[in-house]
Symmetry: C2
Subunit: 363 residues, 2 copies
């Protein structure tokens, strides 16, 4: 039990109040007292903002106000009506205390400058939002310099991926190769294909169940996997841009420009080519997986036939898997596996980052 007089208040400014943002708020508030007792840090919401409004009074928000706003938002009310205020200008206009943690759990592509400014002024950043790290390399560097930003949940949700990689690098290990299956949706589809189901049926079923993005091409393009591969590569210090990591899409170029409805109607066109890849894998005794491979010489993202003994070949269904081959883990890799998506585990990954950051902000 930490003495009360040593308690340090850590102001939290949260950007994004969707499913992950609301779950984060619930988890944080539920853990608040335990974390205060354990680490002597009091995580205090100062503001929660999304595109429609903000909860902000200039004083720490009460748990009741945050939870009521979460309920209202979940019921469809905009944050400005859910006990909040209409959002005016950027978060930069908030009067932040000396040192706060800015948490981005939105999917916004417009927060890069705000977050980089926060770091410049001595605040810390925690991200589940990939976009601020997958844009300009200068933004990545501005955010991550000096370890000011944690971003475990951007890759593999709550799985220990970025922290593991950072620990390897901090100890002077050198990455030889990272191989990863980072899309639960594409992993699920690989499993369906191997079970003999046509891709069209698998995509339609996954779409109906909400396992895919509203437009399944956002999964099937591989762009999200490439973005995660870029974050891993940049974490290794590789000065790359997204253009340098071409992702192999599951559909031909002529289906990229059609409407979503037309794409869904023409899904059968993908069945034969994919079935051929599955047959190729089966004939070689291997497995078909959508894999990102990152080496110091370059990265590739696409469908691969892997030999039966490969760590990624043993993966089944929607689990993510990350295999780190390094100078010290040379003969046998360090492997992390498990569910790499989902609201509770993503929020938990963000909260663990907040705790680690808060522990560094104690006096």
């Amino acid at each position: 039990m930490v003495e009360w007089h040593a308690m340090k208040s850590i102001p939290i400014v949260q950007l994004g109040f969707g499913a992950v943002g609301r779950e984060l708020a619930r988890q944080l508030l539920a853990q608040r007292e335990a974390l205060a007792a354990r680490y002597g840090v009091s995580l205090d919401y100062l503001a929660i903002a999304d595109s429609a409004g903000a909860l902000y009074t200039g004083q720490p928000l009460s748990a009741e106000a945050v939870l009521a706003a979460a309920e209202a938002k979940a019921a469809g009310w905009p944050l400005s009506d859910a006990g909040g205020v209409a959002r005016t200008g950027s978060l930069a206009t908030l009067r932040l205390p000396a040192r706060a943690i800015a948490v981005d759990v939105s999917a916004s592509g417009a927060n890069e400058v705000l977050l980089a400014d926060a770091v410049r002024f001595g605040h810390r950043v925690v991200l589940a939002n990939k976009k601020p790290l997958a844009g300009a390399l200068t933004s990545f560097r501005a955010l991550t310099e000096g370890g000011a930003t944690r971003y475990e949940a951007t890759v593999g949700a709550g799985l220990p991926v970025i922290g593991t990689l950072q620990a390897l690098l901090d100890s002077g290990d050198q990455v030889v190769r990272i191989e990863a299956a980072m899309s639960g949706t594409l992993g699920y589809l690989c499993g369906e294909l191997e079970a003999g189901n046509p891709l069209s049926a698998a995509v339609r079923a996954a779409h109906a169940l909400g396992y895919t993005e509203p437009d399944p091409r956002d999964d099937l393009s591989g762009a999200d996997v490439a973005r995660k591969a870029l974050i891993l590569a940049r974490t290794c210090g590789l000065p790359w841009d997204l253009a340098g990591i071409p992702a192999e899409p599951w559909f031909p170029p002529e289906l990229a420009a059609v409407s979503r409805d037309e794409f869904m109607a023409r899904l059968e066109e993908l069945d034969a080519p994919l079935a051929a890849r599955v047959a190729e894998a089966r004939d070689s005794g291997g497995a078909l997986r959508y894999v990102a491979e990152i080496t110091p010489d370059g990265a590739s993202v696409g469908l691969r036939v892997l030999p039966a003994g490969h760590p990624l070949a043993g993966l089944r269904g929607p689990d993510n898997l990350f295999s780190f081959t390094t100078t010290r883990y040379a003969e046998r890799p360090l492997v992390v596996r498990g569910p790499g998506a989902g609201v509770p585990v993503t929020a938990a990954g963000v909260l663990a980052d907040i705790v680690a950051t808060a522990r560094e902000m104690r006096p």
Copy 2:
């Protein structure tokens, strides 16, 4: 690049200068400048001590002095002759600066009080030595209260096990079950048994190669696995002692008391019972593994026949594997796998803990 004026000197006091201790010194000194540039912390050796002596001048030790002492120690000189001084009294007599990191990479069972005192006086602790955490529960609590001690390398060497578990707990997740293969030596022996080799031959070969402890019963007793299971359980907040985690030994009681030479001569007595267990596993289509299982209701450590689909059944050879089933990772566990022993990865695990701790000690 962190400005020099913001650089924080973090004094390091290292207990133990065996193979892991010397490798840690080499890794730390090689990474020192990079870590200073990245995080604004300067890791400065203040003292290195083992049972025979200490390097200690009251001033930070030069890299040259540390590396020379490491070479001399590796060549068989005691630390007191290797540029050091004869150790007098306990490390507690060292004059420590206000806040230091005490690093225990020894195998000593005599450091508990010293380390608990260090925590009490505001220092931080990093452990590869399991013993201070596997003794009295009060010592475990005194060391870990407030997160003052990191101990990643005590379980799974450099694999992200303790950090992963702590992050789950910090975010409010609840452990339902941890299943783990935590002994590379016993994993190797399971592999040899499954390949049809008699245990006696496998143990003799492993012993000759230095894969086992000098007395192989120190591995075959399962006591080391039980100690790691206790550390995992205590990390979960379970108030257990080692007596509550009985480990199943690979040898009968009558071979526990004989001399090492007699034990080695009578190894063939183990062949038939173990071969029967392997046959049992094979008949059921499963795999024989030496497994620790920890639940809130209790822990067990022993040889188990696992069904083919079990994550631990897929393990081959000396790799470690940790499977965390929690409230949030309920249907599919979070799994960490890889080499869980070895001098470089153990030292790297310690160094990563030192870095994480140092980052919390910045102004």
